[in-house]
């Protein structure tokens, strides 16, 4: 098997694993609900239905990322650039994550420069998705602490960065993060969850906007993921 085929095999294996875990939660919850429907209290039923919802949302995210990755690779991914306010997008994502971040012991520090233009041309929904991905990764890969989100004008672009003080990423792994089939660098039994496709999709979205995306990271010290949008 050549390297490319081997990487694809590993990728498929990872996807199957990532889909099987939530599918198994849904299957097990349904099994208990069906077999014990008369004995279960309403609270227990609600809890199991909550597990079904959470697991199915996780599966949907994976399937959507797979579809988006496929569209990006075949050039069928489309964006709609309109005048939008990046400050609003940042604040709204921070607000959406606030409860989740508090539960995991994280706090947000948002620094938006006054020199950032009020209007930039971008697809609001897609750029929100990029930020959502970077923020959720920052939470996932750090054990509490501060997450700094910064928006700055930078040489004809606006640079948006998300910094965490978590586990960080080894230098040789950083370049692989944004490429399809390259993000598999962990065994299937690894505790770290996630397909890694979110960053591939994020790169596709940023590329279509004419921006750039990257990471600065040091193992054990944390990571700063950033992307740019043209002014």
């Amino acid at each position: 098997m050549d390297n490319n085929s081997k990487t694809k095999e590993e990728f498929i294996s990872l996807m199957v694993h990532e889909l099987r875990a939530p599918l198994s939660i849904i299957h097990s919850s349904a099994d208990i609900l069906i077999r014990h429907k008369t004995e279960l209290s309403d609270t227990k039923k609600d809890k199991l239905l909550g597990e079904v919802k959470l697991a199915s949302e996780g599966m949907l995210d994976i399937v959507n990322d797979l579809l988006d990755t496929s569209k990006i690779n075949s050039g069928r991914f489309e964006i709609t650039k309109e005048p939008n306010n990046i400050q609003d997008v940042v604040n709204s994502q921070v607000s959406l994550f606030s409860n989740f971040a508090a539960e995991s012991g994280h706090t947000f520090k948002v620094k938006i420069s006054d020199r950032v233009p009020d209007r930039l041309f971008f697809d609001k929904e897609r750029i929100a998705h990029v930020l959502e991905n970077l923020i959720s990764n920052a939470i996932k890969f750090s054990k509490g602490g501060e997450i700094i989100i910064e928006v700055l004008p930078f040489d004809g672009y606006v640079k948006i960065s998300v910094q965490d003080f978590g586990v960080g990423i080894a230098e040789d792994k950083q370049i692989q993060l944004f490429h399809k089939f390259k993000q598999v660098s962990r065994p299937v039994d690894s505790k770290q969850k996630g397909t890694g496709l979110g960053l591939v999709v994020a790169k596709g979205i940023v590329d279509l906007h004419g921006g750039d995306i990257g990471v600065i990271s040091k193992q054990g010290e944390g990571s700063t993921f950033w992307f740019t949008l043209p002014i």
Binding site: A21, I32, R35, L54
Partner: protein, 121 residues
């Protein structure tokens, strides 16, 4: 039976505790690989369900600690694995695990059955 579940996935805890509870058993939940021996001494479980991938310390390391301690070595330990790779399973069995369960291949009812049969010998 009283079971100690060492597993960091809250969804699995919710499922297993519901199923064990409906069958008249109790579950204590420990989320990390550290402090397991102390928790076993507190809970005095009839069996331990131990995930192979845990934060802070791996399930295999925890298993070795359990089996090396005279106060805990006699308690049956059933390993929970994702894929049950050959190395994982062999190493766990060699280190004294009583059995293993590929957790995404079974429903909680089957886990209750397996644990019951091991505890009842």
């Amino acid at each position: 039976m009283h079971i100690l579940l060492v597993e960091d996935d809250e969804s699995l805890y919710n499922l297993y505790s519901t199923e064990f509870d409906l069958n008249g058993h109790t579950i204590a939940w420990h989320k990390v690989g550290t402090g397991v021996i102390e928790r076993i001494k507190e809970e005095k479980p009839d069996a331990i369900l131990l995930d192979i991938m845990l934060p802070e310390k791996t399930g295999l390391e925890v298993l070795k600690n359990i089996k090396a301690n005279k106060d805990t070595s006699n308690i049956p330990v059933i390993m929970l694995t994702n894929f049950g790779t050959q190395e994982n399973v062999h190493e766990a069995i060699e280190n004294g695990a009583d059995d293993f369960i590929m957790k995404h291949n079974v429903v909680p009812e089957e886990i209750v059955e397996k644990v019951t049969s091991i505890v009842n010998g």
